[in-house]
Structures are given as structure tokens and as C-alpha cells.
């Protein structure tokens, strides 16, 4: 039966970045749902308005900033009416009416209407505002007029010392004009910078030839130039300054002219709901600078793109994407001047400030902190860490543990891999940015420019940069920032687990617990997953959340685990596997070594290696040999392939060592026997040293135990991986039984609350060490309960190398079918 219905008609008013992004998102998810018509008042396809300043400055051309070519509209069957301004819309008949320059009229009917009329520049209501040579700075026409004027005339005045005004002034200076910036406030960019940073900015712009009149109120623009041009600007105090061009950059106002005519509710923008529908008429959506969401009309790209995604999902009739507002940051696009601000940088009641000021060196940094969280940042001169601070701000992560080093930036808190050359702007194009995937700066810049990328996620997808270990994320964000221009990063307040869902990790964990979901299908149904069976990113996470929340009840799903946890061995680059048997506390025997040696010969295992965790790794085992190798060796699974307890590294300890104060090897063996087979959000490593010389390197493990004369010291959340982190001292314990209980309770808390792929170091920094101390050290009942829960979960758990059926290992995987 042919159920084909006539396509619905979607009309978009306004052909700008936010609107076209909405269309792009829409045709990605629902390519055939609508007949789409777009009206744009400017006679151009969609271009990157943020990059008008580099065009004015002569650093880029207009062609380079076009985002969607004429062909793009054609290829996607979108009817584009460029150069036609929509002047009326009838909400009852559902018709929009547009006029072109010649007065020709176009009428189109709609089922859904998307209003993206953006904003208009605010024009000071002073006499002379309509004179020739008085313009705003908003679009390609304004930019072209400035370029043309600079070729013919000498003097220019820019009214407005904000972001846009300074970029315009800088461009005009580079085009050879004598430019004075007139600003009504005492310092520049007062909404983005505090007075000190504003002063530094003014000084360095003056060095580039800009002139400033601060605290100057314009009263009139005087005519009388050639062809009736403006000839001077007059101020309230009666003084005048001669000029041939006046650029007004005193702010923008949401363009609600059409919406008001249609009697849509407007209040500093077209008022929209969290689904970006207007409150007045659910058929009508609005995104971009014209839309007022919870009282805010955003002017930066990232929030607008988030709005676009939500509107597109709703237009595509996909459930429940909601927009809940964004945090924004600012960067001035004047080549050679670095400034950055985000959040509440002016401080206020209940906030503390950390300030570093070097006016001679031209460096100033201010960080505003409230309740151990970064709430604002304002930087001038050295903005390398801007994106890192912005991330801390967005994540709302506690900074208590890094407070003393916060001011010195990310490279000072122990990232390895790009130490010493983390200044993206000064890096040569052939410098490697992503060490994991071998991506250099030039490749990233090219992808950003050629493919029109705006977000970290897009750069990851296209270049693989920062897609593996993530330690270069800050660097990639910086590159995005100065290549894409302006505000770069998608900044959802809540990060979705993956593209299959709107929900974040915490929401999924909470729902599994509170609604007692016990299968992956339950979770996908209950939480409206967008894909039928998730993806390789969310399915393993959800599977882990289920089995860690409901041990013995939720059933482990091997097909939702990575191959290593499905075959209980580590896959290698040639498709063979490695086998690491468990050696309790790193101790072995002649008998075990003989069996290992025999297996190496029998199965022709090409490489045998001692691991960093005091075990033996057999590399290059064929998949069909795995079961036999396990059997022949006869040692338990080392879980070296799993997000689970891996090694327990020990030093020799008091049994042999003349320095040893405690029997660390025995303590390590006891810990390992109590907690092996423990699955966790990520791998877990322990170490036990018998004295403070700490030969087992307990300071960089998830749990490190160090013997002292009077007992044991316990350290948590250390990490020797991508980000070397020294473990925090946690508590001092007297007996081995206490070490077991406290370690187990800590691990169980992490198992229950950690997000998938979050190491203990990240978990503890997310929830705060104080919280963990409260749960483990202060709450005695709670600690005992956690330790019992872990023992319950581990009781009777199978060794997957020997109890294959019980561990739900699909034995069919080991043999190939012979065709």
C-alpha cells in the first residue's frame, strides 16, 4: 500500500548561519520530510559572518568565507530566494510574502515556518545618522563600502569600543585610514574585560596606530562633505573631529520586525521555548540572534548551533531534544592581540579572585572562583589556556586540588606529550598536534577551512586529532579558535553519551537505578534511544552500568563488550591476541614458568615480554589457540584485556628485604585474591610497597598502599597514563583487614558512581576528594556496606578462562567455519 503523503512545506526566513545550520541538521536526520524554501534579504548564499573582520583586514576574501555555495542549495533541492526580503506573513493562511529590489512579489505557503532574521545594528538616534558615509558594520555590503571608502578617503571614526567596533577600526587602519575609536565608557570592551585588561588592550591598539576618545558622547553627525557626505562628528562637550566615514558599532538588536508584525510575542527577541518554538505559535520556530531563550538572545556561534540542532530534531519529529542555554566566551579577532574572557569575570559577592598582572610584559590574567569552582576568566596577552579554563568553567569541576597551579595553565598540571610547545598559534604547520594519530597542525587547519568545521567533535571526526587519548584536546581547541574565528566550541551544558541519545552518563546511571532497568533493551526503550541498538560507544557503557548496578540480576551481554572482553585476550594490530596470566602479587614459580615456556614452544608464540605490572605477556597467539593456551598454562586470567582489576604490583617487602617494614607481597596477594574479576568503569591498578622507599611505585596507582612502621598508608586516584597524576593521601590504617575493607569500599564507590571509561583520577576530580572521604572515612556503616556489596558482586564470579559457559563466553568465536 502506498502511504506516500505530500511533503510538508518548510519556509525559512533569513539565510544566515544559524538558520542554514538548522536546515543542514534537518536534512541529515530527515532528508525527505520537507519541501524547503529559504528567503534571504542579502543577495548572497550563506556565509560566515564572523569572518567579515578578516575580510575587512585583507586577510581573507569574500569567496573564502562562503559556507554554503549556490550548488549546495541546488543539490539539496532547496529553493533559495536570495535578495528577497520577507515583509509579511499571514499566520492564518500560512503564507509569507517577500519583495525583491525591483518590487517583485513572491508568496509561499508553509506548514512550518523558521524565523532566523538575526539582528540589526543599533543606530544612534542622533542628527545626521542618515548622511552618506555613515554606516553600520553588519554584512557584506557594509564591509564592501568600508573597503571602497578606504581607497578614496583618509579619515574614519568608529563609534563603539566593543568587539565589533575594534575589529572594524583595526581593519580600517590596515586599509590605510586614520581611525579614531569613540567610546562612551571609560574602558574598552567593558562587557568582556575588566578595567586592567581593557587598559592593556587600548595601549597595544594605540601602538598599532588606532586613536581613542574615551568617555565621549556623540551629539551630532555633521554633513557638508562632498556629495553630501558626513564631514565631522560633534560631541556633547561641543568639540568636533573631522572625518569622512562614521561606522556605528554600538551594539545589535534582535531583528523582530517581521515577528512583531505577525504578532508573535517578543521581548528582547522572539520568545521561544526549550524546543525553539515560538511561545505564540507552535508551527513557528526561531533560532539565532533574533530568538530570546529564557530571556537571552545569544550572539555567538556555538549556542546558535546548539539551538539549530534542537530545532532540527524537533522539526524532524524526533522526540525530546531540549535547549537549556549556553555558557559563552569571547575572543577578539585582531591578529596579534590575544584576549579571552568567559563567564563572570568581574567577580562579586562570594567570589575570590586569583590575579596575575605584568603590565610591562603585556600579560594579565584573572580567574574568578566561587565555591571551589571556576566561574569566570579574563585574560590578556597570554590566552593559551583560554580553552582549558573555559572547559573547567563549563564542566563545573572542583578546582580545589589544582588551585595552586591553576594560574599557570594546563601544561603545568602534568600533561605529557606536548610539553613545551603548547602554543598553538606559534606552532609551524608541520608540527604534530595529535601524537596518537599523527595529525599535524596544517592538516587540522586545512580541514577546518575546507570543510567548514566549527566544533571539536567535527575536527575529531574529520582529522582524528584528539580522537584517541584526548591529551591534545586543548591544543586542538586553540587551533579551532583562531582558524575558525571567534567562538568555536559546541558547549552543551550536559554532554550526551554519544550520538544515539540526548542523555548524559549520569542520567543513564540514575535511570537504571531509580527505575530498576535490568537490560540494555529496557534502557534504550525507557530513555528513547535514537538508534535501534546503540553503537560501539554507548552499548558497552550501558552494559557496564547494568551489571555494576544490579549484580546477579542484570545479565552481561557479551555482544555489547569490546572484543578484548568478549574473547578475554588483547587484540593486536595483526588480529592475533596476547595472553597475560595472573601472577598473584607478581610472584611466580618454576612450575608456572615451565608451563608458560612449554606453551610458547607448542603454539609457536612469537614474542614473550615482561609487562610493566610484573607479569608475563605472550604476544601473537592465534585466536583458535586461545582456549588451549589458557588450559596448558593453567593459571587464572590476568584480566589484562578488561576494564577490571589488572595487576597488583608489589615490592619484596619484609619477608626478604632488609629495609622492609611490612609484608607487602602478602598484602598485595590478599588484595588481588579479594578483588580480582572486579569489572569497573575503566582499568584498575593497585600497588603495595613495604616501606616508604616505595619500590612498587604506589604513588601513581588507582589505589596505592605503602607500609610504614605503624601500619599502612592508603593513597587513591593516582595515574601513570596519559596524564601523570600523583595519588592523593587518603588515610592511615593499622591492619591488613582494614586495608582490604577501605580499598574494597573505595573501589565499589567508583564502580557504582564512575562514568564508563572514567579512571579513578577523573572520577575523584569530578566528585571531589572530600566527597569520597565523607563516604569512605566518615561514614563507617556506609563503608562496611560498600565493602559487602563488592564482596556480594564478586562472590562466585567465574574465571572466564576456565568457566567459559558461566562467563557467557561464546565458544563459536574461536573456530572459523571452513567454506
Amino acid at each position: 500500500m502506498d502511504m506516500r503523503v505530500k511533503k510538508q512545506r518548510l519556509v525559512m526566513v533569513g539565510n544566515g548561519m544559524a538558520g542554514v545550520r538548522t536546515i543542514e541538521e534537518l536534512i541529515k536526520v530527515a532528508p525527505d520530510l520537507y519541501d524547503i524554501t529559504v528567503f534571504g534579504a542579502e543577495p548572497h548564499p550563506n556565509y560566515n559572518r564572523i569572518l567579515l573582520s578578516p575580510v575587512l583586514a585583507g586577510e581573507q576574501t569574500l569567496d573564502e568565507i562562503v559556507l554554503n555555495s549556490w550548488d549546495w542549495y541546488k543539490e539539496n533541492h532547496i529553493t533559495l530566494h536570495a535578495g528577497k526580503k520577507v515583509v509579511e506573513a499571514d499566520r492564518v493562511r500560512r503564507v509569507v510574502r517577500a519583495v525583491d529590489a525591483e518590487g517583485g512579489i513572491t508568496e509561499v505557503e508553509y506548514d512550518r515556518l523558521l524565523i532566523c532574521t538575526g539582528s540589526n545594528p543599533f543606530i544612534l538616534p542622533v542628527p545626521g545618522k542618515d548622511l552618506k558615509g555613515v554606516i553600520a558594520y553588519r554584512d557584506i555590503a557594509d564591509t564592501n563600502e568600508m573597503i571602497a571608502t578606504a581607497q578614496k578617503y583618509k579619515r574614519a571614526v568608529v563609534i563603539g569600543g566593543g568587539l565589533l567596533g575594534l575589529e572594524a577600526a583595526n581593519g580600517l587602519v590596515l586599509r590605510g585610514m586614520d581611525v579614531t575609536v569613540v567610546h562612551v565608557m571609560p574602558t574598552l570592551m567593558e562587557r568582556q574585560l575588566d578595567a586592567v585588561a581593557g587598559g592593556l588592550l587600548q595601549k597595544s591598539l594605540e601602538e598599532r596606530g588606532l586613536k581613542f576618545l574615551m568617555g565621549a558622547q556623540t551629539s551630532e553627525l555633521v554633513g557638508g562633505g562632498e556629495e553630501g557626505r558626513v564631514s565631522a562628528i560633534r560631541f556633547k562637550d561641543g568639540t568636533e573631529r573631522a572625518t569622512d566615514l562614521v561606522v556605528m558599532a554600538v551594539g545589535i538588536r534582535p531583528n523582530t520586525e517581521l515577528a512583531e508584525k505577525m504578532r508573535l510575542h517578543c521581548n528582547r527577541g522572539i520568545v521561544v521555548t526549550d524546543t525553539m518554538q515560538t511561545v505564540t505559535d507552535a508551527r513557528i520556530y526561531s533560532v539565532g540572534e533574533c530568538a530570546a531563550h529564557r530571556g537571552i538572545a545569544y550572539g555567538l556561534v556555538a549556542p546558535l548551533f546548539e539551538q539549530a540542532k534542537v530545532a532540527a530534531n524537533h522539526l524532524a519529529q524526533f522526540g525530546i531534544g531540549l535547549y537549556s542555554g549556553s555558557l559563552t566566551s569571547t575572543k577578539l579577532k585582531v591578529t596579534g592581540i590575544d584576549l579571552f574572557s568567559a563567564g563572570n569575570f568581574s567577580g562579586g559577592e562570594g567570589t575570590e579572585e586569583i590575579v596575575m598582572s605584568d603590565p610591562f610584559g603585556g600579560v594579565y590574567k584573572k580567574l574568578v572562583i566561587k565555591d571551589d569552582k571556576l566561574v569566570g576568566a579574563c585574560m590578556y596577552g597570554d590566552t593559551v589556556d583560554g580553552s582549558w579554563y573555559f572547559k573547567l568553567l563549563r564542566d563545573g569541576r572542583s578546582i580545589a586540588d589544582i588551585r595552586d597551579k591553576l594560574m599557570f595553565g594546563e601544561s603545568n598540571i602534568g600533561d605529557v606529550g606536548h610539553e613545551g610547545h603548547s602554543k598553538a598559534a606559534t606552532m609551524p604547520d608541520d608540527a604534530e598536534v595529535c601524537g596518537c594519530n599523527g595529525v599535524n597542525k596544517g592538516t587540522i587547519c586545512k580541514a577546518i577551512k575546507d570543510k567548514g568545521l566549527f566544533t571539536l567533535d567535527e575536527v575529531r571526526k574529520h582529522t582524528k586529532a584528539s580522537a584517541s587519548c584526548g591529551s591534545c584536546t586543548g591544543l586542538v581547541e586553540q587551533i579551532l579558535m583562531f582558524t575558525a574565528g571567534g567562538d568555536y566550541s559546541a558547549t552543551p551544558k550536559l554532554k550526551a553519551m554519544c550520538g544515539c541519545t540526548e542523555h548524559g552518563h549520569q542520567a543513564v546511571r540514575d535511570a537504571i537505578r531509580s527505575s530498576k532497568l535490568i537490560s540494555i533493551a529496557d534502557v534504550f526503550r525507557f530513555m528513547d534511544w535514537k538508534t535501534p541498538n546503540g553503537c560501539a560507544s554507548c552499548r558497552p557503557a550501558v552494559n557496564y552500568y547494568l551489571i555494576s548496578t544490579w549484580p546477579k540480576q542484570a545479565k552481561d551481554d557479551p555482544q555489547s563488550r569490546f572484543i578484548n572482553e568478549r574473547s578475554h585476550a588483547n587484540i593486536q594490530k595483526d588480529g592475533t591476541y596476547s595472553v597475560i596470566p595472573r601472577m598473584w602479587g607478581g610472584e611466580t614459580t618454576a612450575d608456572e614458568l615451565r608451563r608458560i615456556a612449554d606453551a610458547v614452544d607448542k603454539y609457536k608464540i612469537p614474542t614473550v615480554k615482561v609487562t610493566g605490572g610484573q607479569r608475563i605477556d605472550l604476544l601473537g597467539v592465534k585466536k583458535e589457540d586461545l582456549q588451549n593456551v589458557w588450559k596448558d598454562i593453567g593459571m587464572p586470567s590476568g584480566h589484562a584485556y578488561a576494564k577490571a582489576l589488572r595487576t597488583v604490583k608489589t615490592c619484596v617487602g619484609s619477608e626478604w628485604c632488609r629495609m622492609g617494614t611490612q609484608d607487602s607481597t602478602q598484602m598485595g596477594k590478599d588484595l588481588e585474591r579479594a578483588m580480582w574479576r572486579m569489572y569497573a568503569p575503566h582499568k584498575v591498578k593497585f600497588a603495595v610497597s613495604g616501606c616508604p622507599r616505595n619500590c612498587a611505585e604506589a604513588g601513581i596507582k588507582d589505589v596505592g598502599i605503602i607500609g610504614v612502621d605503624s601500619g599502612w598508608e592508603m593513597y587513591v586516584a593516582g595515574n601513570g597514563g596519559i596524564k601523570t597524576e600523583v595519588a592523593h593521601f587518603f588515610t592511615k590504617l593499622k591492619t591488613a583487614a582494614e586495608v582490604l575493607e577501605y580499598t574494597g569500599a573505595f573501589c565499589e564507590l567508583y564502580r557504582q558512581e564512575g562514568w564508563y571509561l572514567e579512571r579513578t583520577v577523573h572520577y575523584v576530580s569530578r566528585v571531589g576528594l572530600d566527597y569520597v572521604k565523607k563516604r569512605i572515612l566518615d561514614d563507617h556503616e556506609g563503608r562496611k556496606a560498600l565493602w559487602e556489596q563488592l564482596q556480594f558482586a564478586l562472590d562466585g564470579e567465574p574465571d572466564p578462562w576456565f568457566e567459559l559457559d558461566k562467563a557467557a563466553v561464546d565458544k563459536r568465536q574461536f573456530e572459523a567455519i571452513v567454506a
Binding site: 535501534p532 553503537c535 555489547s560 587484540i571 595483526d574 588480529g575 561464546d810 568465536q813
Partner: protein, 127 residues
């Protein structure tokens, strides 16, 4: 057509999983089953670095390669954008619950592609 060769039953392949099929010559063929019991067959070799696709996680009509998580479409063997590249696909016929592959394709298709190397074997070729 008598060219179809019975390989196994649909039930012999785990749902959202795969089986490897060894051939007389050439690399293995991976046979996949998705959640709707659709069956697909590709050369067991990711177009990226040759990873064994049979070992990946199957979702929707794609498989995520176990080595670097490229998503390969089961229908045509091509990497999902923005990744680029395709792996050879094989014809599949399912009848009465049994999976069949083409004998002539198994004997002749994609014989030139080799397994990636690692360890001493890799060093030997570099030398």
C-alpha cells in the same frame, strides 16, 4: 543457481555478532548477523589498517572495527563518513534458515589482499 554454497545456519551466528569463514585461498570472510537477522558478508579486513571486522561490535547495519573504531557499513563494506575506504563485499543468500555464499566468489574474490603483520614478522619484512 547452484553456485550457492551452504555455510552455516543463521542461528550459528550470534545476533549482533559474526563468524569467520576460512577459504582455501585468500583472507577469511566475516559473516555478520544484525538484530533483525539480516545477514551480511565482507572480507574480514578493515579498509583502514586491516583490522579483523569479524571481531567488532555490530550495531544497526554497521560494524565498529576493533582496532581503531572505524564504522564500516555492512551493506556495502564502505566506511561511514568522514572516514573513507571500502572493503570487498560478498554476496549472501539466506534460505530456510541457512546462510549461503557464492562458491565462485569465495574462490576468486579479493584474493590479492593480505593480513596486516605485527611482531617479528613485521620486522622481517622491514629489514
Amino acid at each position: 543457481m547452484s553456485d550457492w554454497k551452504k555455510i552455516c545456519l543463521v542461528a550459528d551466528i550470534p545476533a549482533l555478532g559474526s563468524r569467520r569463514v576460512a577459504r582455501a585461498r585468500g583472507m577469511d570472510v566475516a559473516v555478520f548477523r544484525n538484530s533483525e537477522d539480516k545477514i551480511f558478508a565482507l572480507l574480514d579486513r578493515c579498509p583502514h589498517k586491516g583490522g579483523p571486522l569479524s571481531q567488532g561490535i555490530v550495531h544497526g547495519e554497521s560494524v565498529a572495527c576493533p582496532l581503531h573504531n572505524w564504522n564500516i557499513q555492512l551493506g556495502d563494506g564502505c566506511a561511514r563518513a568522514p572516514d573513507e575506504g571500502c572493503t570487498p563485499k560478498f554476496s549472501v543468500m539466506v534460505s530456510e534458515g541457512a546462510v549461503h555464499l557464492s562458491a565462485s566468489e569465495l574462490a576468486s574474490h579479493a584474493l590479492d589482499l593480505a593480513k596486516p603483520l605485527a611482531g617479528p614478522a613485521l620486522k622481517a619484512t622491514a629489514a
